[in-house]
Amino acid sequence: MIGIDGHVHPEVETVNPYRPHRARITSIVDLTDNEKLFELRLIDEESRAEFSHSAGQFVEVSIFGVGEAPISISSAPSKQGFIELCVRRAGDVTGALHDMRCGDIIGIRGPFGRGFPFEQMKGSDVLLVAGGLGIAPLKSLINHIHDERHAFGNVTILYGSRTPSEILFRRQFEMWQHRDDFDMVLTVDQADETWTGEVGLVTKLFDRIDVDPSNTYGAICGPPVMYKYVIAEMRKKSIDADRIYVSFERRMKCGVGKCGHCGVGHQYACVDGPVFNYWEAMNLQEAI
């Protein structure tokens, strides 16, 4: 056959993007009743050396006999040799993963997608807003900023959960509330007897923060309903549309722009996203 350029293409050994690489589960931490943090190590030395990601990218977790699921990488790129995934039990694949033990082997494909523009954000203030499991991809960004803290201005993290027991990384974040290099605010929809912090939607926290609109990047990830309201708050603080970054969850199978499931407007979340800046996203039909 001849290519669209009219030339005969020599046969080349193609890398198979659907072939998972084996990874061993090196640690499992229970975060809540439904979420666990998995630490993985790619078994093959070469794939391990090649693996490098940016905050906001995801992998396909592959468990043969069950299937695959896209999961954000929670660890920072600087944590070399290991990959952390924060996973909620939601169905077949995530359920099978939750039933596994340290030392078990799963498959990993990726990293895929476009992450947050880390280099571009340097030198600016960053306002991160997470709802529920949306903290998973943002955790990678938070960890990466933490590694290079001196390169950033003020870093504010607003994180909302339904209940205190559903707060992910609760112990770490509660400690972070006392740090002066991060402005960390947690809020819950419904308090319980253990809770002394904020109560209410994450948008409520905007009343108490100061934002320098000329020099702030926003980053948002959460359930689909959240985006509209958080973006509105950021816009009220006069952050430019193209300095607000959102990460979208869509159904995905291949991760490489072929299976078609993750279409959002005229883009694919797996290759054009999952992180989009709001200026792009507002031009994507049905995105927000």
Partner: protein, 346 residues
């Protein structure tokens, strides 16, 4: 590109010659319709076919294909072999040659799909010209002709074929298997006349002006609600489409659960769960949103990446749709449609 003339009664020599080296697949009659099937002999080949039920994509990406075998213990890949026998697709209309090129952009571009790629590399394409049927609208997109993406292209001039040869392999096979002669100035003239008659036999092309812009500007148009009411979500339009490439992936375990295979199957954005995610959210729950998405992706999403629309005007979806939904009508409706504000104002 260079050209040869082949007498019509010599064509079976070419088919027989190819059959010695390749699996030869071509349009054959099936009931009142035509399908692509392996030829038993040159006599099966029906180059007078109007269209085939399924487009040629099934020979590059089968409706169901194994992409790997696995062992469940330790999550191991056993093999990722591709079944890609040397094959000739004999008798492909220009619309479908274009359709394959549009598939190529997805499967041979960034991060190529090894299964599609292996079959594409092992398959020769022999194109053939056609006559427009009442469901064809390829002239709207310029896909009524093709200049790439085939090895040999046969244009029927009556007693003989005007043959365009694109690839080295195509040239070699013609030399080897069939008596042909050089074209003359007169042959070229005859070819131009046939082409002119072909072009003149189409009705007015569809008005596709500013389509991407209209799709955005009239995204909320009630036109889509009406189409959603009619659509049955059966996905037939996607299955018969030469450019619909979406797929699903499933694991099928062996009875002893020690191993199994990962398969991919054709999927359709018309199906209800196509964009459903965990925790109950479904980004395209309503039928109208799914019909709209199909058009939106074909006429705008794909275009934004590859500068061509993802439709070749073959008319298969028009014939397959039980609800009578078809691109020419949808596009015409959209051109004339009122936006939601206009409807409200009336």
């Amino acid at each position: 590109m260079f050209f040869r003339m082949i007498d019509k009664d010599r064509l079976p020599d070419l088919v027989r010659g190819l059959a010695a080296e390749f699996e030869v697949v071509g349009p054959v009659a099936k009931g009142d319709s035509f399908v692509y099937a392996e030829l038993e002999g040159p006599g099966d080949l029906r180059l007078d076919f109007d269209s085939t039920l399924l487009p040629p994509k099934e020979w590059f990406m089968p409706p169901r294909e194994r992409i790997m075998r696995f062992a469940t213990a330790d999550n191991e890949v056993v093999d990722c072999e591709v079944d890609a026998p040397p094959r000739v697709l004999f008798g492909v209309h220009p619309c479908d040659v274009n359709g394959l090129q549009l598939m190529d952009n997805v499967f041979l571009g960034d991060r190529p799909d090894p299964y599609y790629k292996a079959r594409r590399e092992n398959t020769l394409i022999v194109g053939v010209n056609c006559q427009p049927s009442d469901t064809c609208f390829c002239n709207a997109w310029g896909t009524d002709e093709t200049h790439w993406g085939f090895d040999i292209f046969l244009s029927d001039l009556g007693p003989d074929y005007f043959v365009s040869v694109r690839s080295v392999k195509g040239a070699e096979l013609i030399d080897r298997h069939v008596e042909s002669r050089e074209i003359t100035h007169q042959d070229t003239r005859r070819f131009q006349e046939v082409t002119a008659r072909f072009k003149a036999s189409f009705p007015e092309p569809l008005d596709t002006s500013q389509l991407p812009l209209l799709l955005d500007a009239k995204f909320d148009s009630p036109v889509w609600d009406e189409l959603g009411e009619r659509c049955l979500s059966c996905g037939a339009c996607s299955m018969v489409c030469p450019t619909c490439y979406c797929f699903d992936v499933k694991d099928v375990l062996d009875p002893d659960h020690a191993g199994g295979e990962r398969v991919r199957v054709w999927d359709s954005c018309m199906f209800r769960d196509f964009a459903a995610v965990a925790h109950g959210a479904n980004f395209r729950e309503s039928r109208s949103s799914r019909v709209k998405y199909r058009y939106y992706h074909k006429q705008w999403g794909y275009l934004s990446k590859f500068e061509r629309v993802l439709c070749v005007g073959c008319g298969r979806c028009t014939r397959a749709c039980l609800a009578g939904i078809n691109p020419p009508e949808v596009i015409a409706a959209l051109q004339g449609a009122m936006s939601r504000e206009e409807v409200a104002a009336e």
